[in-house]
């Protein structure tokens, strides 16, 4: 195995492109080192990207944020204003692993590892976040939800790597949330998770509602057809129940050591409900705050 710690994006691209065999990017290393230890992967090349200028920075861009690929969970959550801007992504990021893991884990790693149970992918998906990808053909952008293409598989091509994650600007009365279910309160992998992004108008009527579910299918499930159902409506129990049912029935989970099909499908509906209520109250608070 070769370990490299280049100083520029271009060097990373050429190393990745020129090395035969398995190449892995080292940002936080919290997935790749575990996989190496357990023999799941035996890379020929490890590229530590942390020396690349800007890769560990958070920038405010066009009313949104650009998060460098090597920004860790604790750096994200300690960045002033970011938690308030996107409580949903912040809580998803914060739920990954322990305090120790928080010092290392990255959004880019979580996305590229492509686990169906990844915490941040649903949260990034509902907010329509994008990634900036550098590769042999230069820079390109894609939606986060297009990166994982199956358990452990991503859509990056040979020579490509993620340099940053874009959290776009959001409308005035909008907010998000992320809730996951785990048997333990910490140090666990999501058995089911739900992320919600909601935008209200001044009368608290729903203008946009996105829901994504994690760990209930090989890929994140972005619930379709919800916006038609909720547009310009008040959120009420009946509506929530309907959405909850849609979510439960949109699941295509498996039985495994972490949960059953029945459990995951049912709890997906429960978490969807709870995440909507949470995001809705957060968006509502913004209206009240401005009204005051």
């Amino acid at each position: 195995m070769i370990f490299a710690k280049p100083n520029s994006e271009q060097e990373v691209v050429s190393l990745l492109k020129e090395t035969q065999g398995i190449t892995r990017i080292l940002g936080g290393g919290t997935d790749v080192l575990v996989q190496m230890k357990s023999g799941v992967t035996d890379p020929d090349l490890i590229v530590d990207i942390k020396n690349i200028p800007g890769i560990r920075e958070i920038k405010k861009v066009n009313g949104g944020y650009e998060i460098g690929a090597a920004v860790s969970g604790s750096e994200f959550n300690n960045y002033p204003g970011l938690k308030e801007f996107t409580p949903g992504i912040a809580e998803a990021f914060d739920l990954i692993g322990s305090s120790q893991i928080q010092g290392r884990c990255t959004l880019a790693g979580n996305i590229c590892n492509a686990s169906p149970a990844a915490d941040t992918t649903p949260a990034l998906s509902v907010s329509k976040c994008r990634v900036k990808i550098v590769g042999p053909n230069g820079l390109r952008e894609d939606l986060v939800s297009n990166i994982p293409i199956g358990p452990g598989k991503n859509s990056l091509k040979k020579g490509e790597f993620i340099k940053s994650i874009i959290i776009p600007k959001r409308p005035l009365y909008s907010s998000d949330s992320y809730i996951r279910f785990t048997p333990r309160s910490e140090m666990d992998i999501a058995v089911v998770s739900a992320a919600c992004f909601i935008t209200l108008n001044q009368e608290k009527l729903i203008k946009e509602l996105n829901i994504s579910l994690g760990a209930v299918a090989p890929l994140v499930v972005n619930i379709k057809g919800i916006n038609e159902l909720v547009m310009n409506k008040n959120l009420n129990d009946n509506l929530i129940s309907q959405i909850s049912l849609i979510c439960s029935s949109s699941c295509d989970p498996i039985d495994d050591k972490r949960g059953t099909i029945e459990f995951r499908s049912h709890v997906a509906g429960v978490l969807a409900k709870r995440s909507i209520i949470l995001a809705h109250s957060r968006a509502g608070e913004k209206i009240e705050k401005i009204a005051r």
């Binding site: 357990s38 279910f181 309160s185 050591k257 059953t260």
Partner: protein, 749 residues
């Protein structure tokens, strides 16, 4: 047998206080050396090749390619060991370390390599070619017991197995007394349920590790983390047909054991690799190996039937217990059968127990082995009966509690025991009457454990400067150096800082049994007190010489020799230090010894109270409040007694809520890691409130009882009863994981 009257609490000066533990600074600064912390010059790293099949016949092992790899120094398979009698228990232990003809469980080792570094050793393992034939396997108790089931090992069956079972059912026992039929007839309600508990692992944070060095003249040194280095010596010297004296085993500091480090898993392998290579060999297990090939406890399938009158009086009780402990025989089923109804005073009671072999890792003892599973079943049925009659569950337990004079369900008549006092303490505690909110339930369970004594040696040396060295032979797994030093200082009447307790290697002291059965503070304490008494006798003798009076005219009091009796004179009392300083001139060094196979550890009872809140939409249960009541005998260092009560409770909480060995349909373990095995983390828990009841044990001079094990017994049923009450659904299988609980909730709706 001398009759001992325990001291009362008031008389103690050092016992019962909370001094800083003597090994504490080493343990908070990283200096303390655990199993993996020793390195030797010219040392090799050893590792084991494991086969991921539950049951397979080994056709051939070809190590030739691995031997060719540069840096590989020795390779060992079962054939490299001297043949010992297959019925010898130590042969079974060896066959568990490294497979003989068959792979008996997923992760069973078949070959070992020692090489100059770990990565070379691992590379070499990949070059070892194993040819094997897969065999049909059995994982569950139900499957393994059926006639026609694949047989794990032939010829293991005892003479008393009833007909109608497969050869995997190897042991059977029953206990009890009275007329069950009449008893059940007299009941107003009889409830019969079947309960299941999974295999769970001890979960110590330190993986097994050792460093072995054996020379070709047959002498060997072994450093390892173990609960009993004398036992390691017995096992290994038997396997290698060595004299005990030629194998010196030194116990490292030990990073948890809970019963799981009472046997060996890698030590004989490391010795063999060292013998063959001529180098010291270090072996450290990976966490995956720890889960796959060490521990766990037995899994269980238990039928319980209890009859009760509407007054709450139990009229009859029976249990049929089936324990599975993997591929080799064990005795845990007997302990389960004996402890099931130990908390109750019953006229008619019967327990039967079967021991079943399966293609799973061999069970190792786990804190009160066998008791949590059967008592979980019993305490759950009793709680259901209380609910049925709308009777207060503590009232019912007090009504039926075993007490002095009760003929126990396992035979003997109880002497002084503290169950009733423990139950009363729970009833009077504010926790018991505090209000509960919606979806919350309160659970109660009794627990019981025997506690043992066992072989124990202590040497207590009075140094020339008046300080004292206590030499004992049990690894300090949770603060025992402190309690032993406290008892020595108390008995000698000197200050604690004058005493240092060390743990001797196997050549420096006589045999000491394993640190098990909650025996250390009891037995080593007893031996320490007796050794101190012997030293005091000698100190008095020296004083008598100095004073020129009769030996009988000197007594020891509060750290001083005093002249006593009519003609003794008025000499100024002599301190221990005074006498020690001139001991060279009065006859030589002074020491006290005591060697005993101790009995009379005294049974112990606990009662746990727990409040749970269950999320009815997800099935998730959260512990809201937890209180532990235990008859601990005299608490030498109350903080460490509390620590045992708290730690055991949390292990029980893990067992009740999430921990389990999960097998796939192909017989392979699915969760051999901390992530998916899910032991409780700090944020899962509230404070665990310990209430110590100091009911002195008449069998110990200071009234000490075993403490460590009882606390893991009650949590299983306490939590089961709490979740059952919170949800209105009676549960009969652990763990109460969210999918299981939610399924029951949805079925009910």
């Amino acid at each position: 047998m001398d009759q001992i009257t325990p001291k009362t609490t008031k008389e103690f000066k050092i016992v019962g206080t909370r001094p800083l533990r003597p090994d504490g600074i080493d343990k908070v600064t990283g200096k303390a050396m655990y199993g993996a912390d020793l390195y030797a010059p010219n040392m090799l790293y050893g590792c084991l090749l494991r086969i991921n099949e539950p049951h397979a016949f080994i056709e051939s092992i070809d190590t030739s390619n691995a031997e060719q790899l540069s840096g590989v120094k020795s390779i060992v398979t079962f054939k490299d060991f001297i043949k010992i009698n297959p019925d010898n228990k130590n042969n079974q232990i060896l066959e568990n370390c490294i497979a003989n003809e068959k792979v008996l469980y997923d992760g069973h080792a078949v070959a070992a390599v020692a090489a100059v570094d770990l990565s070379t050793a691992k590379k070499a393992l990949k070059l070892v070619k194993i040819k094997y034939k897969k065999l049909p396997f059995v994982i569950t108790i139900e499957d393994a017991m059926k006639i026609g089931a694949p047989v794990v090992a032939i010829g293991k069956k005892n003479e008393n197995i009833p007909d109608g079972y497969s050869d995997n059912v190897i042991q059977y026992c029953s206990f009890g007394h009275g007329n069950l039929e009449e008893g059940f007839k007299a009941a107003h309600k009889v409830i019969k349920r079947t309960f299941k508990t999974p295999s769970v692992h001890q979960g110590y944070i330190e993986p097994h590790a050792c460093l072995a060095s054996m020379s070709n003249d047959g002498k060997a040194d072994l450093w390892c983390c173990t609960q009993g280095h004398f036992n390691v010596r017995s096992i290994c010297s038997s396997i290698f047909k060595m004299d005990n004296s030629q194998l010196k085993v030194t116990a490292s500091e030990i990073g948890g054991g809970f019963g799981g480090k009472t046997t060996v898993f890698i030590e004989p392998i490391a010795l063999a690799l060292s013998q063959k290579s001529g180098h010291p060999v270090k072996m450290v297990m990976s966490r995956e190996d720890v889960f796959k090939a060490t521990g766990p406890t037995v899994s269980s399938l238990v039928d319980v039937e209890v009859g009760m009158k509407k007054t709450g009086k139990i009229t009859a009780a029976r249990a049929i217990i089936r324990y599975e402990g993997g591929a080799f025989p064990n005795e845990t089923y007997e302990l389960g059968a004996q402890s099931a109804f130990a908390a109750y005073d019953l006229d008619a009671v019967k327990t039967e127990a079967f021991n079943v072999l399966t293609n799973r890792p061999t069970q190792a003892a786990y804190r009160a082995p066998g008791a949590p599973q059967s008592i979980y079943a019993v305490e759950s049925v009793i709680d259901e009966l209380c609910q049925f009659f709308n009777q207060d569950p503590l009232y019912v337990r007090i009504l039926n509690a075993a007490k002095k004079g009760t003929k126990s369900s396992y035979g003997p008549t109880f002497d002084d025991i503290g169950l009733k006092a423990t139950l009363e303490a729970a009833k009077n505690h504010p926790h018991y009457t505090s209000p509960l909110k919606e979806n919350q339930g309160r659970g109660i369970s009794c627990g019981f454990w025997f506690n043992f004594g066992g072989n124990t040696c202590v040497s207590l040396n009075i140094n020339f400067d008046g300080t004292v060295g206590v030499v004992e032979g049990n690894p300090d797994i949770g603060g025992s150096r402190s309690s032993i030093s406290q008892m020595a200082a108390e008995e000698l009447g000197i200050s604690l800082d004058k005493v240092k307790t060390v743990i001797a290697d196997t050549n420096s002291l006589g045999h000491n049994d394993v640190t098990d059965g909650s025996r250390v503070t009891f037995s080593v304490g007893l031996a320490t007190i007796k050794a101190a008494k012997a030293a005091k006798k000698e100190l008095c003798k020296r004083a008598s010489k100095l004073w020129g009076i009769d030996e009988d005219a000197v007594i020891w009091k509060d750290g001083y020799a005093h002249p006593a009796g009519a003609n003794a004179g008025n000499q100024e009392p002599l301190s221990l230090e005074d006498i020690a300083k001139v001991s060279s001139q009065t006859g030589g060094p002074i020491a006290g010894h005591y060697e005993v196979n101790a009995d009379g550890a005294g049974v112990s009872f606990g009662v746990h109270l727990v409040d749970i809140e269950t999320d009815m939409e997800t099935g998730h249960s959260k512990i809201i409040r937890y209180t532990v009541f235990q008859d601990a005998g005299k608490a030498i260092h109350p903080s460490y007694v509390e620590g045992q009560m708290q730690g055991g409770s949390v292990q029980g909480i893990g067992w009740a809520l999430n921990e389990e060995y999960i097998y796939s349909s192909d017989g392979k373990l699915q969760n051999p890691g901390f992530l998916d095995y899910r032991i409780p983390v700090a944020s899962d828990l509230p404070m665990i409130d310990p209430v110590i009841l100091e009911i002195p044990n008449p069998g110990h001079p200071y009234g000490v009882r075993g403490v460590g094990e009882t606390s893991i017994v009650p949590p299983l049923a306490a939590i089961n009863n709490a979740v059952s009450r919170a949800t209105g659904i009676r549960f009969t299988e652990l763990p109460l994981s969210p999918p299981r609980v939610l399924k029951a909730i949805l079925n009910k709706q």
